[in-house]
Symmetry: C2
Subunit: 367 residues, 2 copies
């Protein structure tokens, strides 16, 4: 049944049934009024973040599914909470969707959202759905909390700190390349291609690792890698008033990236500028290295030191395997000043790499 | 300068300057990280609401301006907070906008947002901006608070309560009609036309009245009139498990509505089903009438009793000036089950009345 033909009653009732309160009674009102009501807690700070995924900018129906889209819409906002070391709690979802979409599409989208929310104990408390004839847009607002004094910002890095990343940055951009070449066939392809494609379509927010890094005061500054290692590291450095040097050779390679390199593909642009990995990039003083290793082992997550924080006059630089500076066109720290209109930094992400057809539109280059 | 050619740095820096923290230090981090951080307060509940305005669905550039659009985007979310009796505090804004829009457009949009936020002490704490080639969409998420126990829900109405409205419902729909006929010329037209047009383009959220009605425990249930008196009253009744009867003759008429009536225009569909007035509709027991009058006088707001709460078996009905039931096509309580896909009730609003060209698309009627 098309959404335009479906009534409000069944949809709202279905949503209420699907997304029932499960937490410790903190949700006083969800989805009965236009405004959600939740209880607050003393000695905690409130965390709030919002992200939008736009059809044909952040995703394309040719290579993703509504279920995966729902997962990603939640994951990208949870990743922002993870990067503060916070606990995600509540979600508001706003959809702009054409009235001729099938109800099954929205059902699958909500199924995808729920499949990420549930393991994290996140509840849907509100939202809004509009008919719109243009591209679909999914806006997720996630509210979370942290103990006051345990939030990790971008601004805390000091000269001498090590720079760490979780996981294997670059896989998402590599996966996107496969998806653009192969469409959904990439999801049924051989191991490494499929793995990379899923890293792009279904990134994992590093909530547990972010929370541990914050609670144990291991990380001095933290950000999630949404727009590429160099660009996000540049943001962290700008807020902290420092510079940084990372070495490409210290980044771990996934099976997919190894296969790509063996086939003669360039890895530096993917790893350093790829974007949409939603891994954590953080800094920690050298004496915290054992604690970082312990947290990595506890969360089962690869965590690798890839560089160090230097004086701000040195800027943000990447060195290749021979210690020579890497220049990457169209991205990285130097690109900071030439991207479109973020009030709060989250940007159209696919402009970062590998979008030649849209590169002018999305890169923010003067036309 | 087009947005696509403008850098991130100048835009973010401009936003940070424009929207500086002004409250009592509760904003720990806004717009430096992807996630805003604010302090919580004991004995308060958190209120969260989100709304989206979509180009060509909720507004058209032919008859509104970016400044007024910015004002309305904030006002509609503040209205949701007002309907709970809450204090609005923080705003997150998410834009989907074509990269060929001029920077001046966004500047004016933010100016409009700020012009509503500032008098209410609301701070911008986060947001997100995406390039998108389709219609523009503005999503506003407002966070607010109220004392625990002083929140007014839809669900508290009892048989015997009076039904009140603030202001003069119907003006927004009348103004929209003028705007569609005259375009922006309606804004320079003679008094009543202009007044009605501005009621549509620039509704006033009734924050102070909502807060007083809550704090003094005058209102038993409350909702804002976003989708029409009968439809929103129907929602309140459904949540409260009651019915209601309102009398058209008891609604106050604005100068514009009086002129419309004198010219032979129908008033009942506008008043009862018009939508987008963002006035408050609330219920209160008869013994609270003096308190309601006092709050009206204190806030300088017209507040009129227009009906009463009855048993749920009587449904939701409207009577004309001779006491006969009014049937209104395409809207009202009976229309409840035939509108498109809200998870949380806020709907494409312009489907309610006077959109013949889109009525199939937006009314949710089976095609």
């Amino acid at each position: 049944m098309k959404l335009g033909a479906l009534g409000e009653g069944p949809l709202v009732d279905g949503l209420r049934r699907r997304f029932q309160p499960r937490k410790d009674g903190r949700v006083v009102m969800a989805m009965g009024d236009d405004t959600a009501v939740t209880t607050e807690r003393p000695d905690r700070v409130l965390l709030a973040t919002t992200d939008t995924l736009v059809e044909d900018v952040h995703f394309a129906p040719s290579y993703t599914s509504p279920f995966l889209l729902g997962r990603k819409a939640v994951s990208v906002s949870l990743s922002d909470i993870a990067a503060m070391g916070g606990e995600p709690l509540f979600l508001l979802a706003s959809l702009v969707v054409a009235p001729d979409r099938e109800k099954e599409f929205i059902d699958a989208l909500y199924d995808g959202m729920a499949s990420v929310m549930e393991p994290h104990g996140v509840e849907l408390v509100g939202g809004n759905t509009c008919a719109g004839d243009g591209p679909m847009a999914v806006t997720t607002t996630v509210l979370g909390e942290a103990a006051a004094g345990e939030v990790v910002y971008r601004r805390g890095a000091s000269v001498g700190d090590d720079v760490y990343v979780t996981g294997t940055p670059g896989d998402s951009a590599l996966g996107l390349r496969y998806l653009r070449e192969l469409g959904r066939a990439a999801l049924e392809a051989a191991g490494p291609v499929r793995e990379a494609a899923f890293r792009h379509l279904d990134p994992t927010p590093r909530v547990a690792a972010g929370a541990l890094l914050a609670r144990r005061r291991a990380a001095t500054a933290m950000i999630d890698i949404s727009d590429g290692v160099l660009l996000d590291l540049g943001r962290l450095c700008r807020e902290s008033g420092v510079g940084a040097v990372v070495e490409e050779g210290r980044f771990p390679l996934s099976r997919a990236m190894e296969a790509h390199a063996e086939a003669g593909g360039e890895t530096a642009p993917l790893i350093l500028a790829g974007g949409e990995d939603y891994e954590l990039l953080f800094t920690a003083p050298p004496d915290k290295a054992p604690m970082v290793r312990e947290i990595a082992s506890q969360t089962g997550l690869a965590v690798r030191a890839v560089g160090r924080i230097v004086d701000s006059r040195e800027g943000v630089a990447a060195l290749d395997r021979r210690g020579r500076p890497i220049e990457i066109a169209q991205t990285g720290f130097d690109h900071f000043g030439s991207r479109p209109l973020p009030p709060c930094v989250d940007l159209p992400r696919k402009d970062v790499y590998n979008y030649p057809s849209n590169s002018r539109r999305n890169s923010g280059q003067p036309s």
